[in-house]
Subunit: 150 residues, 2 copies
C-alpha cells in the first residue's frame, strides 16, 4: 500500500508541511518518489514515523532522531548502538515520570491549600496552619516549597 503525503499526514494526525519539514531535516531518507517527484509513503514508513513520534514524545530533538534513523539505514552493524539508544531513552523516560510524580505532589498540596482557603474564605488559614494540622503526605511538600530543611 502506498500513500501520498496528505494521506500519511492524516494517518499520523499532523500537517503535510510537518512531514516535508522532517524530510528536509533528513528524517525521512527512506521515502521514495514517483516519476514526477511526488513522495510515496509505504506502510513500513508509517512504522518508522510511529517511532519518530515516540522518540519525540520522550523529548528527543529532531537532530538526535535523525541520528537514530541513520543508524537504522546502516543496517545490522548498528544494532548495538540502537539498543543502547533505547536503553538510555528508557532511563530518561523513567526519570521524566518520576519528575512528574514529584510535580504532582506539589499540585496536590496546592489543591488542598485552596480547598482549605475556600472553606475559610481566606488563604491566611492554610498559611498559618501548623504542620501537624495538614494531611500527612503534604507536610514535606510544604516544607520544600518554603525551603525549610533540605
Amino acid at each position: 500500500m502506498v500513500y501520498t503525503i496528505g494521506e500519511m499526514a492524516k494517518m499520523l494526525d499532523l500537517a503535510p508541511s510537518t512531514l516535508r519539514y522532517y524530510d528536509k531535516e533528513g528524517l525521512l531518507p527512506f521515502v521514495e518518489r514517483s516519476e514526477g517527484g511526488i513522495r510515496l509513503f509505504r506502510d513500513s514508513d508509517y512504522e518508522f514515523l510511529k517511532i519518530v513520534e515516540c522518540l519525540k514524545k520522550t523529548g528527543m530533538q529532531l537532530k538526535d532522531i535523525r541520528e537514530f534513523i541513520h543508524l537504522v539505514m546502516e543496517g545490522d552493524s548498528t544494532i548495538e548502538a540502537r539498543l543502547a539508544l533505547f536503553q538510555k531513552q528508557r532511563a530518561e523516560v523513567e526519570k521524566q515520570i518520576a519528575q512528574l510524580q514529584e510535580t504532582m505532589e506539589v499540585i496536590r498540596f496546592k489543591c488542598w491549600y485552596y480547598e482549605t482557603a475556600r472553606q475559610a474564605g481566606t488563604t491566611a488559614v492554610p498559611d498559618a496552619m501548623p504542620n501537624e494540622a495538614l494531611p500527612e503526605g503534604l507536610r514535606a511538600v510544604r516544607a520544600r516549597l518554603r525551603k525549610e530543611m533540605e
Copy 2:
C-alpha cells in the same frame, strides 16, 4: 532575609537573565527594589518562584503562569479560580503521566526488539517472529506500531 538576583538565581538553579526575563514578562510583580533600583528577593518570593517552576514543569506557558500570579495578587476573591486552575493542572499531569507510560511501552518493545536482534545478529529475526513468540505484554505494542487492529 533578602537576596540579590544572582543569589536567588543560584537558589533556583537558573540564570539571572531568566529572572529578569520573567520580571519583564510580568511574572514577578511582587519583587521589590532598593533605592538604587536593585531587585530585592524575599523568602516569600522564593516560594512563589517554586510554584512558577512547578507550573512550568507541567508545560504551562509563561503567559498562563502570569495569569495565575495576577490571581494571587488580587487576593482572597480569586481563591475559587486558583483552585480550579490547580484542579485542571492535576488532570493535565495525570494525562501526561499516562502518555509517558504508553511511550514507555513502545520503548520496552524496542529494547526487546534490539536485544533479540543482537542475539541473532540481524533485525530480520525479531521482524519475522510470529506474535506468539514475543513476550505477552509486547504483542499489542507491535500491532499498534504496524497499524494492525485498532
